[in-house]
Amino acid sequence: MAFGKFLLKRSLQGVLVVWGVVTVLFGLRAVTPGDPVNLIVDPAVDHETRERIRQELGLDQPIYVQYFEYLQDLLVGDLGYSYQSSRPVTTMVIERVPATLELALAATVVALVIAIPLGVISGTRRNEPADYGATSFSLVGISTPNFWLGIMLILLLAVQLDVFPTGRRPVAFHDALWMFLTTFYVGDLLTWFHHIILPAVTLGTYFTALITRLTRSGMLDEYGKPYVTATQAKGIPETLVRYKHVLRNTMIPIITVLGLQLGTLIGGAVVTETVFSWPGLGLRLIAAIHNLDWPLIQGIIIFVGISYVIINIAVDAIYAKLNPRVLDE
């Protein structure tokens, strides 16, 4: 199969997945109790006003009419208006993307910085204390719920030791960076860094544990291969063998997982963002669910769904380029 055809097939599958997400969400909205008008106006507002609002929103139309109108609007990027704030949902979603991306990327960096060295140590010192330490860390990391970890980190490092703030994001990374580039003022960047450490560690812990395990098993796999023995036999220093050959080959599956996990991190930051009041998509989603602000709930989940699909297609495409046998399968 040609690469173009492969990409087209994956894209069509992606469109189907997004359509499925949209439809399921719309169905959920239809069966969820709660008259949207009661969510929009004060309970003391009279019956006539309620009826007028219902008509204005098209809620008096049959459900299939509402569905097709929603699909029509969606195709032109119109996700409707929030019941709670009356703001365009598209704007409300897009403005929260940077915070979530910052957190997802920071969590990835935390994971890589900790996981790769740990995985290498563990993989090269199999069945030694360092390996036991690293594998125990992985097990604990994978088993620790991040809402608990986040709260513990806040209680210990913010409330008791006063080393970090309890949460929030007083400055956006792009603003802090712009400030630094235009005035060389580094304070905003440091403030951002100070605030993101605990959320990033919280969100990145599971990921750290996962990558540590992958690195360890990858290293062990690679060490068993003949080319490693050959390079060692040539007298190449062990450090070079380890990092230039073994680790480099181990990184291929890790990078694939990284790409896929980024999508998970975007969607999975909900708990961490809530614990740390980090103003990303997750926190907005929780508030929207709390208020049953359906247009906003749909908007955020559809956005996350589309992101996930795009990242998956991109990963598939890269993988197909690297390993053309996939095209034949």
């Binding site: 704030s85 090269t124 409330v159 100070h194």
Partner: protein, 525 residues
């Protein structure tokens, strides 16, 4: 491999040690030296940070009606009147006011300026009222419900506005004095409706503070408005931000990131009490929590049955055990502090024997009823409902079970007719935020009202009559009589008025109000 490792062990050990020391020092430096702009734990009295559980839905001051919304917007869009904690009205933008045959005439200050430099006119004030009560002007305002008596507004001259109404002057006063954050007509008509911008340009009020930074649902940063007509602002910088979790707000208070936090739940109170420099301050609010019974549905159509449920529930015990003492048992539909509250009434005291007798008298012995309740909407609401349901269930001749449902279900039930039998018995709360009984009585107890749960023609007529009595004393007397009848007729199962509980930096001079408003001009450091 091991040999190779050993060759480098000396150098590696040094590098490791250096790395660890460097990382520790770096983190320490960041943690210790960073000057967090929201952190004033070192006693920076020029900055005030207020963390609320809820934030503004949008920047439009005429759109919504919640307390947290007014707290954030009032420093920017100041109220027309100063409302004292005792619900007395004092001049602010409105200097004088009187009721005439045509309505209420408000005389305005002539030196009020909007933050964009435009002078405030009577046209702006009239436009503001019309904007709230006339949906054709661009928004469906929640505040319209609180301005039900005001029919229209008109500028009579540069500084005089006429508000037409045909109700008792004191009722009209409670309405117009509580709402009406003035907007600049020309400016607002250039905005989308309602105003929904996402930066500081989305605000243009006349208040003592102007917005210098705004991030929707995250924070609003204020600084004094230099051309403000009144007293100079107390703080050089004020930050309002949001944290939806009580524990998160308390943590922010403990670490000095915040100076005032609202809605501290009883479970988090000890964390504040145990910390030096911060304390709990509380005040009974105007928010009642009660059990609604649709009186058009059996068995709730029986007064004896309704009274029995009131005698079955120990509302004082619920306040002490479930709310940690942060509340007051209800004695009637209208809380203490509101015009028309009857101070002579006592709560129903738990009396299981009398309750069982009343059930027998009602003819509904052996009934099985279900109490519906939300979770997370009011202070420990699910626990309150569980306790009430258990106490009713312990009567020999009635069975009661609890069903926790999403709040929208409760909201739907509350807007259903009084004879709707789908969910006729449920827990809900209501804040009488205008300070007048009418806002707590008319929506529930008048015929065809939006939230009518109880039908009694006599009571309905009395409420309508109370809306037109000009003499304040006479009107208060009638409202008190209505409250007494509703108490005796057991229109609801009366539970409690819940407290507003705040965590506050100890050195701040500020007392919580019954109306749950936080006014910056009432805070001093």
């Amino acid at each position: 491999m091991k040999g190779a490792d050993n060759l480098y062990s000396g150098r590696r050990s040094v590098l490791k040690a250096t790395g660890i020391i460097g990382a520790t020092a770096g983190l320490g430096a960041i943690a210790g030296c960073l000057d967090d702009p929201t952190d004033d734990e070192n006693g920076d009295t020029d900055e005030l940070v207020i963390t609320q559980g809820e934030f503004i839905e949008n920047p439009d001051p005429n759109d919504h009606i919640t307390g947290p919304y007014f707290n954030v917007l009032d420093p920017v869009y100041e109220p027309l009147f100063n409302v004292t904690p005792e619900f007395e009205f004092e001049s602010r933008i409105v200097e004088e006011w009187e009721d005439t045959d045509e309505g209420a005439e408000l005389t305005l200050r002539d030196d009020v300026v909007f933050h964009n430099g435009d002078e405030m006119t009577a046209e702006d004030v009239a436009y503001t009222f019309n904007r709230m009560i006339d949906p054709d002007l661009g928004i469906e305002s929640d505040q319209a419900a609180g301005l039900g008596a005001i029919e229209s507004a008109e500028a009579l001259d540069e500084t005089t506005v006429l508000l037409e109404h045909d109700v008792a002057p004191s009722l009209a006063e409670f309405e117009y004095a509580n709402y009406g954050r003035v907007v600049n007509e020309e400016w607002i008509e250039e905005q989308e409706q309602p105003v929904a911008g996402d930066d500081e340009e989305a605000f243009n009020g006349t208040g003592p503070y102007q917005v210098v930074e705004y991030e929707p649902d995250v924070q609003l940063v204020l600084e004094p408005f230099e051309d403000y007509w009144g007293e100079e602002a107390t703080f050089e910088r004020v930050v309002f931000n949001e944290d939806g979790e009580s524990s998160g707000r308390v943590n922010a208070l403990q670490t000095g990131e915040s100076d005032i936090v609202d809605n501290v739940i009883p479970e988090d109170v000890p964390d504040v009490d145990d910390e030096d420099g911060i304390e709990i301050r509380n005040e009974t609010s105007l928010r009642n929590v009660f059990l609604v019974m649709n009186t058009g549905v059996e068995p709730f159509d029986s007064m004896e049955f309704r009274q029995a449920l009131n005698y079955a529930v120990d509302n004082e015990g619920i306040v002490n055990d479930i709310l940690g003492g942060y509340g007051e048992p209800m004695t009637q539909p209208i809380p203490d502090g509101v015009f028309g509250h009857n101070p002579d009434l006592e709560p129903y005291e738990q009396d299981l024997e009398q309750a069982e007798e009343l059930i027998e008298e009602s003819g509904y012995a052996g009934e099985e009823i279900t109490l519906y309740a939300p979770e997370g909407r009011y202070l420990n609401d699910a626990d309150v409902a569980q306790t009430a349901a258990d106490q009713i269930d312990q009567l020999e001749n009635v069975d009661c079970e609890l069903d926790i449902v999403p709040f929208p279900d409760i909201s739907d039930a509350n807007s259903a007719p009084y004879d709707d039998d789908e969910m006729p018995f449920y827990l809900i709360g209501w804040g009488v935020i205008t300070g007048d009984s009418d806002y707590g009585l008319a929506p529930f107890f008048t015929e065809e009202a939006p939230q009518e749960t109880y039908r009694n023609e006599e009571i309905s007529e009395m409420i309508f009559e109370s809306q037109t009595i000009e003499d304040e004393d006479e009107r208060e007397e009638l409202l008190q009589e209505i409250n007494e009848q509703l108490r005796d007729d057991a229109a609801w199962v009366y539970l409690h008025s819940q407290d507003s509980v705040y965590g506050v930096r100890e050195d701040l001079e500020w007392e919580p109000r019954t109306d749950e408003d936080i006014h910056l001009w009432e805070i001093d450091s």
